[in-house]
Symmetry: C2
Subunit: 159 residues, 2 copies
DNA sequence: TTTCCAGTTGTTATGTTATTACACGTTACA
DNA sequence: TGTAACGTGTAATAACATAACAACTGGAAA
């Protein structure tokens, strides 16, 4: 967890960077980053927070796409499968991956006050987990680590 | 993760042990382990796997309790709040805590094949996580670690 | 004892999240 | 150019979860 995930930053810059990367990735791997899918990613990036599928759906519909749940779920599933977004189980929500260029194992820090979700790269946590699972003979395929608490900002406000 | 969570064991013995502990805990802490709540715990223990709230509800109803969702959710929430059960986010399901006597930070190993859920105590994982969160200035309140993969048994079958 | 209150249970109704199934169109490629 | 795989759209429904309120229970205060 090398970075301060809740730190201020330039949303537009980080968003366009991710989109650029997504385009590149699509070309390299032959992924089909179709209009709906790209739009869904843009929506997540613009929202810059965890968004529910129905919220994304609404915005997709406003952009001229379908308005039935599968439209959103399919696009979001595609993004998740290809590492461009993550699912936050605790919130039944999705976030754009902020570091899609690094093969990372994300850990989510969820602030219960402001509801912001920060994505941290906690390789050491995952390594510890892998070692433990190996010992138990369990084959890890996907890992989901979610931490609920207070972000630095809200922690300050509370005290 | 000191134990082999998928290892064979005596269900009845482990179940009655947990129930005994729950009774003791209730007395010590003044918790009201009412009939519905105790029944819900029994159901989870008997099922010995992650169960959905509606599945528990059905069985509660069969035992003469109400048949509306809040009946199950309230009992399950009570158990979770008091460390007698856990919620598995990934499955929208609940499991009885198998080690309620230890103040542990559970990690769930979910087999995608047989759908069994093992609860492991991964203190080292949690310690690593705590250290990282501290560095980021994030105050941890609850942690949820869920691992999806193949248990030793299903791993064997697959190959 | 009686009154009151907090907590528990039950029910109705509704809100939220997610999937199944099928029709139709598009793309890639033999 | 046929066809198989994939993508999109829609309708219908399943699965999960909560809000709001009435009735009861058990114990503490008067």
């Amino acid at each position: 967890m090398s970075e301060l995930p809740f730190a201020d930053h330039d949303h537009d810059h980080c968003a366009s960077g991710v989109l650029d990367h997504a385009d590149k990735l699509a070309e390299e791997k032959g992924l089909r980053l179709t209009p709906v899918r790209r739009a869904a990613l843009e929506i997540l990036l613009t929202g810059h927070r965890a968004m529910g599928a129905y919220e994304v759906l609404e915005q997709l519909n406003a952009k001229g796409f379908g308005n039935q749940p599968p439209v959103a779920y399919r696009a979001l599933d595609f993004l998740v499968d290809n590492g461009l977004a993550h699912r936050v189980q605790r919130l039944n929500a999705f976030t754009a991956c902020t570091q899609p260029d690094r093969h990372h194992r994300p850990v989510f820090l969820i602030c219960r006050d402001c509801e912001q979700v920060a994505e941290a790269d906690a390789r050491d946590v995952q390594d510890t987990l892998s070692a433990s699972a190996d010992r138990a003979g369990f084959v890890i395929e996907r890992v989901n680590v979610e931490v609920l608490g207070l972000c630095p900002t809200c922690k300050g406000k509370a005290s």
